[in-house]
């Protein structure tokens, strides 16, 4: 089949890009050609790409607007950080991070499932506002929770560290708004890239599977899909839970890259969710490779523009508005078509949605 080989080629390009990116970055790092700024961005780039790809599964493939992606990331980050503190270097770093990833993904998936069942009944903008509310709830809850451990087991409180009633040798893990300290910091660029490849593998295979086609048919016409016997809620929930679990994985990477983990409106607030959504929209909705590239550019660019100080975010805002208008304003799109027809007749290539 011609289309089959085309998809395959496109997927190989996507994986290849990641591998090339890894080799280039690692090469620069080994030969000490990387600025300290870029060195600090190596792991963040990985988790932002994972977040972008996983959100694309919901926004692009499933066609639902979610503004709570940072909430799932937060769940993954905190569940894995608590685990890291509980085992407290009793098991080797590599084994620790593998188990932490599984725990983070599992917790985020559970939350995705719980919030997904009721919420996916809602449509469009309502879904957006509820997922936004969910992200804020998670952030607020974690800021209010105190968690300690001693010989008797775990103690939880919503008040302060004293009301945990810990024994003498007890250890406080989550200190309310101060978050979790003394984390192992054992995430590396290699682990990040492996996780990114796994994410890509899961998402691309899902998109090109029977389930993926079912999900996309629901996106394109819910009523038609339902009438041929597809279970709308089941497929939507599948996409939502997988996406949440992958965001949880990104959260694990995030928490294992820090010594201190706190839930602030900067890292887990709705602004972060919006940031990830911007990656997806600018990269091309439903285009997995595009959202990765957008994540890389939009993570590095603001850092490189730091010399602009206060004007940095202003320029970012203007670029965002201009990009949106140039990309999707009906008049501009029509004008671009006319121009393309004039200078490159019959060479317009149409991208299939869902192709990575």
């Amino acid at each position: 089949m011609k289309t089959g080989s085309k998809t395959l080629r496109s997927n190989i390009i996507t994986y290849g890009l990641v591998v090339v990116f890894y080799i280039v970055m690692q090469g620069l790092y080994m030969t000490d050609n990387l600025s300290s700024l870029m060195e600090g961005l190596m792991v963040p780039l990985c988790y932002y790409m994972i977040l972008a790809v996983s959100l694309n599964l919901v926004v692009g493939i499933s066609g639902e607007l979610s503004l709570g992606h940072a909430g799932f990331m937060c769940v993954g980050a905190f569940s894995s950080a608590v685990f890291a503190r509980l085992v407290d270097e009793k098991i080797p770093g590599m084994a620790e991070i593998i188990i932490a990833i599984l725990i983070g993904a599992a917790f985020a998936a559970i939350f995705g499932f719980l919030i997904g069942i009721p919420v996916l009944r809602l449509k469009g903008d309502y879904l957006a506002i509820v997922t936004l509310a969910f992200g804020e709830i998670i952030k607020n809850l974690i800021n209010a929770v105190y968690l300690g451990v001693d010989a008797n087991g775990l103690h939880v409180s919503l008040k302060d560290t004293k009301s945990l009633n810990l024994l003498e040798d007890g250890d406080i893990i989550i200190k309310g708004a101060q978050g979790i300290g003394k984390l192992p910091r054992n995430a590396t660029f290699t682990i990040g890239i492996i996780l990114l490849l796994i994410t890509l593998f899961i998402v691309i295979n899902l998109v090109n599977s029977r389930q993926g086609r079912a999900i996309m048919s629901i996106r394109d016409n819910r009523i038609a899909a339902e009438s041929i016997g597809l279970s709308v809620s089941k497929y939507k929930l599948t996409a939502f839970v997988i996406s949440a679990a992958l965001a949880g994985v990104a959260g694990v990477l995030y928490s294992h890259n820090l010594a201190n983990l706190q839930a602030t409106s900067k890292n887990f607030g709705y602004n972060q969710s919006i940031m990830i959504l911007v990656f997806v929209v600018l990269g091309g909705i439903g285009n997995i490779r595009g959202s990765m590239i957008a994540a890389v550019i939009l993570t590095i660019l603001p850092e490189k523009l730091r010399f602009l100080n206060d004007y940095r975010m202003l320029i970012y805002a203007i670029v965002l508005i201009a990009m949106m208008i140039l990309n999707s304003a009906p008049k501009v799109v029509a004008w671009r078509k006319v121009m393309a027809e004039k200078y490159f007749p019959h060479k317009g290539k149409i991208n299939e949605p869902g192709e990575a």
Binding site: V59, L65, Y126, A128, I137, N140, V281, L320, I321, P330
Partner: protein
Amino acid sequence: MSSFLSYLISGISLGSVYAIIALGYTMVYGIAKMLNFAHGDVIMVGGYIAFICFTELGVPPVICILAAMIGCLVLGVVIERIAYKPLRGASSLSVLITAIGVSYFLQNSALIIFGADSKTFTSLISIPSISLMGGDVIISGVTIASIIACIVIVAALMAFINKTKAGQAMLAVSEDTGAATLMGIDVNRTIALTFAIGSALAGIAGVLLCSAYPTLSSQTGAMPGIKAFTAAVFGGIGSIPGAMIGGMVMGIVENLSKAYISSQLSDAIVFALLIVILLVRPTGLMGKNIQEKV
């Protein structure tokens, strides 16, 4: 009892401000079908305009409030013209991202112009406070002003929409844009008018919000904006009485949970309430239930 009453009253006061902001969201959503994420930041701009007029120029409070309203009105119309109008007919996601871009733009412009340190806002409302129950419950001037402003605005808007030609045009556009165009309604002008009204309301809300919570920074509008937005959804987005009820409920629940449950969890409780309501009534309290036809 008296403490409960004062929490309730300050909740109603906060709720009135949320309601005024929510009206802007709900009208714009009803007519342009877009989530105007920048609305909260228009409130912040309104606060800054009133602040500059009052402390730097020393003009009387009434003129400050008018200036804030007119400034926001112009801002709202300009934003609509430059950022949103070219995207009419584009996917709702690109409009949403553009609105977020506008929001960042307003916040960072304010940051550059006014600096990162927050300003102390002097209350513009000089209505004397009332004490009830022998001085146990004190209702401040800002509270009275907020509640009166909210009631007057809702009544005026309802009258405007139901009694005037422009208001009827708004209703028509929100029901069916295509049919409204065929009936000779200028859709672009109607949408611009909606933005003008919504933004002028945001100007008032900015003054009231900053008078009640007297710190002003570039982030001032963000969280109230989000909460008012949830209030609009809670009440049924697109419905004016719904926005008022939603705002009131949000304000009261937020204040009471701050007082009796936990100040840190109050936001979480408000948002959880929204989720519960939407599960029971997927289009909000007063939202219209639209039957889907194949």
